[in-house]
Symmetry: C2
Subunit: 322 residues, 2 copies
């Protein structure tokens, strides 16, 4: 199981490489929720999301000989950019397997970090098999998006910094997809603050982690329909779940319309950009505010990779949301 020392090691590796992102606060938010809210602004992290932490730590963990054979990842989201940037910073080759209908912006960003992009047809081909073939052929190292102790340790450094900078918390809410971020943050938070309650936040339509935690076993679901594209995982990873079942109090779910409200709040009152999944923890706190009144609550602003046009469509209602 992931240990706090793994997170300390990751923190030392990330020092001076990852941004030590600020902890944002808002008097308006505190008044609205009757709580003291500390927001870890990973939306301002390099490549626009916390994923850089885990990707970098994983690439850094390889030996020089391993890195010389390159790294491989499959992702259409922030993990792709994280691994591409981490590889670039190490001067090693990255190959990212992405669907051929991935947004042009994301393809361009991944290539912009110097990665080779291998496209596949998401309706006919199996991306894991393609990645496995690359690993076999090139001897390259697969960097999984969440079910990996090195990745989890990197993500956990966000909670470590939050608590170092913001002090004691009664509760911590972390957005949850495959569980890499939540599990890393849970290990860091419970080590530093044994009494803290740690919550995951996920979209209502994709509540596999809530089901898994409540049933005590990993539950798989169909790909959920939600605007939170960073949380369309079908099941929590095995390594993250080992931590989550031990340390996490509960998983809070939110409807997509509250996620849009949270994105609007962050824009209008805190002057920062959040992508839908990046706003999920704030949305969860807003939606379940009665559980947190009078408390000091840490939340993650986990990512900001959304185009202005998509943001405009969501807040204007041009793109309908449940």
């Amino acid at each position: 199981m992931l240990q706090f020392t793994d997170i300390e090691t990751a923190a030392a590796r990330l020092q001076g490489v990852a941004h030590r992102t600020p902890v944002l606060t808002s008097r308006t938010l505190d008044a609205l929720l009757d709580a003291q809210v500390l927001c870890k602004a990973e939306n301002l992290q390099r490549m626009g999301a916390f994923k850089f932490r885990g990707g970098y730590n994983a690439v850094r963990s390889l030996t020089d000989a391993e890195r010389a054979r390159g790294v491989v990842a499959f992702s259409s989201g922030n993990h792709a950019q994280a691994v591409a940037l981490a590889a670039q910073l190490h001067g090693c080759k990255a190959t990212i397997v992405m669907p051929n209908d991935a947004p042009a912006l994301k393809l361009a960003a991944t290539r912009g970090y110097g990665a080779e992009v291998v496209l596949y047809d998401r309706y006919k081909e199996d991306r894991a098999a393609i990645a496995a073939r690359l690993v076999d052929e090139q001897g390259a190292n697969l960097i999984p998006p969440f079910d990996d102790l090195r990745v989890m340790a990197g993500q956990g450094t966000a909670a470590l910094e939050l608590i170092q900078d913001a002090g004691p918390l009664d509760a911590l809410i972390v957005c949850a997809g495959g569980g890499g971020f939540l599990s890393g943050c849970a290990v860091a938070a419970k080590h530093l603050l044994p009494g803290v309650r740690v919550y995951g936040a996920e979209p209502e339509a994709g509540n596999d982690m809530q089901q898994s935690l409540r049933q005590g076993r990993i539950v798989s679901i169909d790909v959920p329909r939600t605007i939170c594209d960073g949380q369309q995982t079908q099941a929590v990873g095995k390594h993250p779940f080992e931590v989550i079942r031990a340390l996490v109090t509960d998983v809070l779910t939110v409807p997509d319309r509250v996620v849009v409200e949270a994105m609007r709040f962050a824009f209008e009152r805190m002057k920062v950009v959040l992508e839908p999944s990046g706003a999920c923890a704030l949305a969860a706190l807003m939606h379940h505010r009665d559980q947190f009144r009078g408390q000091r609550v840490g939340i993650t602003f986990s990512g900001a990779n959304i185009g202005a046009d998509r943001f405009a469509a969501l807040v204007s209602g041009a793109e309908a949301v449940d």
Copy 2:
């Protein structure tokens, strides 16, 4: 004329009250413009704009007896909120004269800081006369938006901090309306870095300051049609102009469509919100990039008070822009 010591005094007053806003950088921006760009993020300042600095310094400059009689301002924009918040922090009364068709959000924000709002009909009544009457009747202190040494000194602390935190600059670009921000920043910058070139940035449609600087006298224009609502002043103030004609190299103008491009860039690549006037310096740098290649350029992100719906309308093209 405004002196550097006035700015140092203002800086001491603002210590621990105003946010020491971060200096944001973007590798993408630097690559795009072939320059090193240091962005003073006053969009993350209290009440969402640099205006807090000048408003607070002016209210702080009053004697206790003066403050006890309250303060008055006329503004439909960020200066209203700045004076309201500054008064609230001093426990004194603020009366803000605002047009009766001001956006509900701005009225609510000003009242939210505890100010009394006096509405007037902008087509039939003279706001300066209304404010003068309040000053007469109540013995209250008028806090002008820009033509005031206390206000100018407060605004100049932004450039002081930028240079303290970012180091030497070849050039500094400051958005300009009535000239309070530009003049304060020019005095700070030229004192600390005598060789720095200081530029104003204003919308093409409202280039009164460019005309004034080039003609060596204050030129007045009709209220300009521009999305940059913080820069719809008709003429630079007398006190600011005294500084500007002495210290400012030139005033750069930008079309509104480039302002929208700059807002989009800040959103998508730097993950922060800028209102149109807040993006004017970035837009000016983008539009006149050839003048700044290979240089270290400081710019102001001066405000972020724009609703998500208006932002959506501007970036989607639903609101047409010249």
